[in-house]
Subunit: 342 residues, 3 copies
């Protein structure tokens, strides 16, 4: 069961051009495109005539023309032309979805009612290009949504699955603190590793060598938005009481978790940093490293799902590192329950 | 449900050699081959011994030897030898299907009783090589049979799906006339486009430039035979009252629609023309163009089916261009009903 | 239904290294590896923490570390470490399977109770490297276990499916003798071809030209072990009454038939010979020939299964050559019945 009344990342901004993009989100096929005037548009990806995907059509100015028989729609989904006759049948309109571009991500509102703008996650680091530089990407995972939540909620897996890039022994051994904010609908997981080796991912970009303080503070806002505040600093120089933290390097690691269909999920990511701002080489290095890290997760989750499909065995043995993931599961379960009891 | 008591195109004549061809037709696996003497043979493609496909066997003279243990059959399907013993078990024969070669197509009778030769479609243009030249091919489509019927019954899709080859704006805008002949079991769709641009498909082969009269007269004989009379002529020179039509170029565009299994269909095609007869270059040009046109249909129908598989949504909005397709659907439905009520 | 209380071939010895191997055997995922000290180990291939395959982990000394979050197991399957805490949860152990290496094959006991060593097939020809040289391999077949039994129990298919390597006309035409030993749980099939052409498989390795005596004596011990005693000798020189058979060349052709999951089976094979012992070139020749023979069987069984999946038609016409296969089927059926009635 999908949680519909939420914003989800639908696409990278760079993916949207005049050639439409087809995405299945929460089980619904959506055609995403940019009109000639630059408007970002999301329409139901099914022509009401004979069901052909509108995403295979052609954008002409501010309209989308179906590639099979030419039914034509404006950016609001209203049918404005059909072949062979002037009269346009009622019932020929298609649904349009509210969409918002915020920096390198495009968000979509999947609820049936009006979009709730207050629920749109705030991602200033993707917008404030003066102080932050960001790179992003997307991977598709053939696994249940909850397996991706599990994966992100417990970073101790970095030590084993991402050894050599972001994983060091201390990630797995350092105890975590978990905070569940029912009111804000957020699960927070803190892991402060002090005086530890700086992994290649950060040493190369920050220039820090040897030991560092490395903090990982997770904020997961179910269902679809995950934010990791990463802080790398010289040993023993915590932020000042007023929050000033000039010695440290900060990275915001954002994930947009977007259910596609049952057992398939889009894994959008973005890395924003407050150092080497505007530096292309750092962009390319981080993009390459993160693409490879994400692929390691994709491979692991795909195989977990494949194994799950072939068995009824689902027992688990949970330990302390799992408290964040278990809290996230509970929050998701309660959200689903509250929807289904409506 | 398949309509069995009909002839269907089973193969291109050129596909039949001594090496057997395996085709699944109306859900039945059929081994097709040409014996040493040239006879075209169709046998049930399952050895009665252990179920191995006979199409993987070897033709020796007028017999087919199974590739697993050597059970051997003559062209009528009678088992004439088994390994390790002289006695041939009763029950070891396989079904043979009536087949008829007509020019570049081989037809098969899929009914249980005797073949009804009166039902065999007449395709003189594939046989009379003095006055007509023909090319042909086959594609396999992973889509329901009825989606292919829809596609062929409404040619307004040429404008959008086959733009640049046979599609011009006028195909979609010119009104059609539909004629339903219940007695002859034929749906006819006429589209006469006068003084319109000649598409590349025809301008290159006829030599006509600029405006032409372009007529498309469809005769669909459900379930498996579709015939399009295409007429390209200088503007304002219709056929004479006695039928003489010397100024015009004629092309017969034939489709053999052969259900393979549920959700799979063979799309046989042939193009016969009464101009450039015997010209190899025209053959090659038309073969290449039509292969590409058919592939556009295949891609569209495959994706329509994929989408249909993943949804329960099947609503449609029909308009005037759909009258031919709807008539065809009705005729098919009534034929199926009359079979299932037997 | 699988027959569990038996030994099955799990791997070639050469496949087992420190990098674990994943195999699904009788429906169970098993991680196989060789520890640093050389011990051959088989553990259930599912980490009790979150279900990740242990076969994707890393062998460190005598332990296997899970590749997702680092749960660590010794060679008996006992969990000896987990990340982030010292206390190891009870219930975190995994099942270990009894395994035995015999020459180039590793056997696994799939029963739930203690391994019955008396049931372990004896394969001296794979162990006595002074008098025998052996090569081996494995193929995976997407077919029901019983189709592979059928295939091996009736070698008359060599004439047709393996023509040109081991198949000659006489294999199909020579009558067989079948012996069913209910006490020893063995089906024996004898085919003694006297004064027949020597197929390339043997002529090249034995040096014998022209006519030979070629004997094929099968011993199938259901479910998982098949042994073919092949004897190639100059014409008219049978073994002496005391068993001495110095003129003959002997090959033991062993198959380990290991059900993987429903409709999938591992086809392990080994060829041991008492001639050209220690000769690398003969090894390579036989390995190449047999790999190709096995692939012909794999292709045939895969297609048989594909055809079987798409139909309800399962009738068979059995003849004399099928007596061995039918006896094997009966013995398997009776073993399955006796298990399910427990």
């Amino acid at each position: 069961m999908f949680l519909r009344d939420h914003w989800y990342v639908a696409a990278l901004s760079s993916e949207l051009e005049s050639k439409p993009l087809s995405r299945q989100i929460l089980g619904e096929h959506v055609a995403l495109f940019r009109s000639e005037s630059g408007e970002v548009v999301a329409l139901a990806d099914r022509c009401p005539h004979r069901g052909y995907p509108l995403s295979l059509g052609t954008v002409v100015g501010e309209q989308l023309v179906c590639g099979y028989h030419g039914f034509t729609f404006d950016c609001s989904g209203t049918c404005v032309a059909v072949p062979g006759q002037d009269r346009i049948p009622s019932r020929a309109d298609v649904r349009s979805y509210p969409v918002v571009q915020q920096g390198l991500w495009v968000w979509i509102w999947m609820g049936r009612g009006e979009a709730d703008v207050a629920k749109l996650p705030s991602t200033p680091w993707l917008v404030d290009t003066k102080n932050w530089s960001a790179v992003g990407g997307v991977a598709k995972i053939d696994a249940a949504f909850d397996l991706l939540v599990d994966n992100l909620a417990d970073l101790s897996h970095e030590t084993f699955l991402h050894n050599g890039s972001i994983g060091t022994p201390e990630v797995a051994t350092t105890p975590i603190e978990v905070e569940i904010d029912e009111d804000a609908n957020v699960v927070r997981v803190y892991r402060h590793m002090n005086s530890v080796d700086c992994p290649p991912f950060y040493s190369r970009t920050t220039g820090l060598e040897g030991k560092v303080d490395r903090w990982q503070d997770i904020e997961y806002s179910p269902p679809g938005f995950y934010l990791l505040h990463a802080r790398i600093a010289p040993v023993g120089q915590p932020p000042l009481p007023d929050g000033t933290d000039d010695h440290a390097f900060h990275m915001k690691i954002l994930y947009g978790l977007t259910p596609s269909s049952d057992g398939k999920v889009y894994d959008f990511w973005a890395l924003a940093r407050d150092f080497c701002v505007g530096d292309d080489e750092t962009d390319r290095f981080l993009e390459k490293m993160q693409t490879s890290v994400v692929q390691e997760d994709v491979d692991a989750l795909n195989i977990l799902q494949m194994r799950a499909n072939g068995t009824t065995e689902s027992s688990e043995v949970s330990i302390k590192i799992d408290r964040g993931g278990i809290a996230a599961r509970r929050m998701l379960a309660s959200m689903r329950e509250s929807v289904s009891s409506k």
